[in-house]
């Protein structure tokens, strides 16, 4: 007896895959989503939850603005929110060189529609009274915010089940075969899953997944360090970053402060995030304390590492897999948590035969020339 044929199988249960699956299920497709672990427990559940335009790649700003809106209204379209908060954002300069960087980066982002203005330190401190008196200049953006990313998995799981999608957590796909007018997904320790269409949404594991289809697209893996403090009195109200982008700082309603910014730890796609590099942990926390001196009052409660995927040109790959009909890929979006729900919608629109609202990001530009022949 052969297994049922799904209309679409989504491999990878992060925000990109889960949104795509959700929209496809709501669009009437018989959908299965598979993840080797629980939903949204890798990058999508451990990232800093920053919904900022200051750090998003300039050309992705229009996507991030839409993503920001979607997160803030998640309780409406997703069913359960992720404690998203809208606030203002400041990016700071502490040296003359950083002032120049701030001007250049703000200008580039303004070109793509981010309402960022350069303001003097006095204005920055009026916006954020807890700021260090060492600030020389700031970039101000009225659109910023943050979410609690660890809530993402629960929200998506309930929405997917509600939409009738089959959620297969703890199902590790180890390969894909073609045939019978579709794909057959090999699952570790379980029966294969068959589907007419395939969406690969495996984050830093996309390189390996594309390899199943005979394609070679290198995906770099960043090991981003995150630090959360114990609760402390309100010491800040905005989202803070620095000119070179190496800090994100926000205080949640419960009083904890999350320190991120992409300082690197030790790890890889195979082992996950393995270890903090002590110098980077101390550097990251020093920078945070430099920006908000009151952080000296609290204690670091937990440090973890999140894996972020990056393509050769640091731009996303979202669209049809070149040379493999009915296969799609989504991932490697810089600041991907912010724009993730929007990116997933765009791909779902493409698969459902609707015109996506904005251009996708053709993966074929990233193909290595020596690529093996595609799956037939």
């Amino acid at each position: 007896m052969s297994a049922p044929m799904f209309d679409v199988a989504v491999v990878g249960g992060g925000v990109m895959g889960a949104t795509t699956a959700l929209m496809l299920a709501r669009g009437g497709l018989r959908t299965v989503i598979l993840d080797r672990g629980p939903l949204c427990r890798e990058a999508s559940g451990v990232n800093a939850g920053t919904l900022t335009l200051h750090m998003t790649r300039a050309s992705l700003i229009p996507y991030a603005v839409r993503g920001h809106e979607l997160w803030l209204s998640a309780d409406q379209w997703l069913g359960r929110g992720v404690a998203a908060v809208s606030t203002e954002g400041l990016s700071l300069a502490f040296t003359p060189a950083e002032e120049e960087m701030l001007h250049a980066r703000a200008a580039a982002r303004r070109e793509y529609g981010a309402p960022i203005e350069i303001v003097p330190a006095s204005r920055a401190r009026a916006v954020e009274p807890g700021l260090s008196d060492q600030v020389r200049l700031a970039a101000y953006c009225p659109i910023d915010g943050f979410a609690s990313s660890y809530l993402t998995g629960r929200a998506y799981r309930e929405a997917l089940v509600e939409a009738g999608a089959v959620v297969r957590e703890g199902a590790a796909v180890i390969g894909v075969d073609s045939g019978d007018g579709g794909f057959s997904l090999r699952i570790a320790g379980a029966e294969p899953v068959r589907a007419r269409r395939l969406v690969l949404a495996g984050g830093v594991w996309l390189e390996e997944m594309l390899g199943w289809l005979g394609l070679r697209i290198p995906v770099k893996c960043l090991i981003n360090q995150l630090v959360v403090t114990e609760r402390l009195r309100p010491v800040m109200r905005t989202v803070l970053s620095v000119a070179n982008g190496l800090l994100s700082l926000k205080q949640f309603a419960n009083g904890t402060v999350l320190i991120g910014g992409g300082w690197q730890g030790i790890g890889d796609p195979k082992r996950g995030g393995v270890q903090t590099i002590p110098e980077n942990l101390i550097g990251n926390t020093r920078l945070a304390r430099w920006v908000i001196p009151a952080l000296a009052e609290t204690r670091v409660a937990r440090i973890w590492l999140g894996l972020e995927a990056e393509t050769a040109d640091a731009m996303p790959m979202i669209g049809a897999v070149p040379g493999v009909p009915d296969a799609f890929v989504i991932g490697s979006v810089h600041s991907g948590y912010t724009s993730g729900p929007y990116m997933g919608r765009l791909l779902a629109d493409l698969i459902l035969g609707r015109e996506p609202e904005r251009p996708l990001f053709d993966p074929s530009r990233l193909l290595e020339p020596q690529a093996a022949p595609a799956l037939t």
Binding site: P38, R41, G45, M55, R57, A58, F94, T95, M101, A104, R105, A108, Q134, Y150, L151, G153, R154, R157, E158, V161, V167, E169, G170, T229, E230, R231, A243, N244, G245, L246, G262, W263, Q264, V274, Q275, T276, P278, E279, N280, L281, I282, G283, T285, R286, L287, R289, W290, L295, A296, E297, T298, R299, V300, A301, R302, I303, W304, A314, H334
Partner: protein
């Protein structure tokens, strides 16, 4: 302060001291790190130096053993870093800590984690009230601070600490209002053969029981706490009879007991923070206190250069811990090439023999203290399980029903275990509840190990610095 050693021992309780002194005796350079002022861990915790000791203070065998161990470590020539909190151990190995002077780090090819244990409390209504403390906390007050936890405390839970605390309260001039023991006389009888392996300790225990009886302290077996509530002048404890699985009996509630303090402990959980952080292999064994790092007979973990010893390797008591430390110290000496195979065998054989006896006693006590799933399952829906984040039993059940299949998923969905205690207080109860739904503690998993090993103060971690001291990475892409 920084430097390289042959061996770094984390924890200066009986296991750590045993390990350090043994390794030193084979010529290894050794550093011992501990959060406390001096050696002793919990069982041999020293009285603060500023305290005067009464001349008529009763003789205490723990005190004598603790002083002897303290002396042996000082005489061994091991370097010590007391009042240092280790926040990370990196492979290879590098140990990062903070002291009063700021961040420090040391390195060594071998690390022995001798990190002891955390007391477990299975929640009941009122367990977070002021005046409700752990049995272990009561022993710290009594032993180290020479303070009574209360003048008429209720002492509740399971294991040998019950009688030890009750007698120490009597010695200090108080009188326990009651001792509530989850075990029955039959459970204690079952432990008797193992107790015979340490007649000294068994006699001491018997002496405690006689003392309590002579003093007229009511001891209730197969009895737990249904609830604690505040009264005008203290606390009222509602006791409850339990069955052999420690499940409260439907009509088991007894008369309220008026008290000024509740000291309660439901056993001990091995401290596996370091081995989890480094991703050594672990296994679950309720009789050993829960999850423990897998180790061989010489206390090597699954990771080269990483060793465990003492209660952190599985609850077996202070005497066994000291001997386990010695074996781990010998293994390090051998693995670093300072001790040949034959010499190692000659040195280890008598220690192993003594350990077998000590361990038999300690493990019998550990079995008395092991968490019974029915006990955890008895927590009421509106009782807070995670006191850092105010997560109730009901919220945990709801998350499990909605699809949370392991403890880390539960943590993300409910914040259970995300607070400053880093899951130490709620972890066992929460995991037991998840295990009920997914079939086993193995399937429910264990908290992913994370740095910092203890919450680390930002001011000490960052130290004194200027902007130029921050090694800013290159800018993120535009």
């Amino acid at each position: 302060m920084s430097g390289a050693y042959d061996l770094i021992v984390l924890g200066a309780g009986p296991a750590g001291v045993g390990a350090a002194v043994t390794a030193r005796s084979h010529g290894l350079s050794v550093l011992v790190v501990d959060e406390n002022e001096t050696t002793g861990g919990q069982v041999y915790r020293a009285t603060p130096q500023a305290f005067a000791t009464r001349a008529d203070a009763p003789a205490n065998p723990d005190k004598k053993e603790g002083a002897g161990q303290r002396q042996s470590l000082l005489a061994s020539g091991a370097a010590v870093a007391f009042r240092h909190s280790v926040w990370q151990v990196s492979p290879g190995y590098r140990v990062d800590a903070v002291g009063q002077g700021g961040p420090v780090h040391w390195s060594a090819p071998a690390v022995i984690a001798a990190t002891g244990t955390t007391e477990r409390v299975v929640p009941f209504p009122g367990w977070t009230l002021p005046g409700v403390i752990g049995l272990a906390a009561a022993t710290i007050l009594l032993k180290s601070q020479q303070m009574l936890p209360g003048r008429r405390p209720v002492i509740a839970g399971c294991g040998p600490l019950l009688a030890a605390v009750a007698v120490a309260v009597l010695d200090g001039g108080g009188k326990p209002a009651a001792v509530l023991d989850l075990s029955g006389p039959g459970d204690w009888l079952a432990a008797l053969p193992a107790l015979a392996s340490r007649p000294d300790l068994a006699l001491r225990g018997l002496g405690w029981v006689v003392r309590l009886k002579a003093a007229g302290v009511p001891v209730h077996f197969r009895t737990g706490i249904a609830a604690v509530r505040e009264t005008a002048d203290g606390l009222a404890v509602t006791p409850c009879r339990v069955d052999a699985d420690r499940r409260p009996l439907p009509d088991g509630a007894g008369q309220d007991i008026e008290t000024d303090c509740v000291a309660v402990g439901h056993g001990l959980t091995p401290g596996t923070e370091i081995t989890r952080l480094l991703r050594a292999r672990h296994r679950f064994d309720a009789a050993l206190g829960g999850w423990v790092a897998e180790h061989d007979a010489d206390f090597r973990t699954s990771l080269p250069g990483l060793y465990v010893a003492g209660d952190g390797a599985g609850i077996s008591g202070a005497a066994a811990a000291h001997l386990q430390g010695q074996l781990a110290g010998l293994a390090v000496a051998r693995d670093l090439g300072r001790l040949g195979a034959d010499a190692h065998e000659t040195a280890a054989a008598p220690v192993r023999k003594r350990l077998a006896a000590a361990q038999r006693f300690g493990r019998a006590m550990a079995r008395l203290m092991a968490l019974r799933p029915a006990h955890a399952a008895s927590v009421a829906p509106d009782t807070v399980v995670c006191r850092c984040e105010d997560v109730t039993r009901g919220e945990i059940d709801e998350a499990v029903a909605a699809g949370a299949r392991d403890v880390n998923q539960l943590k993300a969905w409910t914040r259970c275990g995300m607070g400053p205690c880093q899951g130490r207080m709620c972890g066992e109860t929460a995991a037991s509840l998840v295990a009920e739904a997914v079939g086993s503690r193995g399937a429910a998993g264990l908290w992913t190990g994370r740095a910092p090993l203890r919450p680390v103060p930002m001011d000490l971690l960052t130290g004194d610095f200027t902007y130029a001291d921050i090694p800013l990475p290159k800018a993120a892409p535009l």
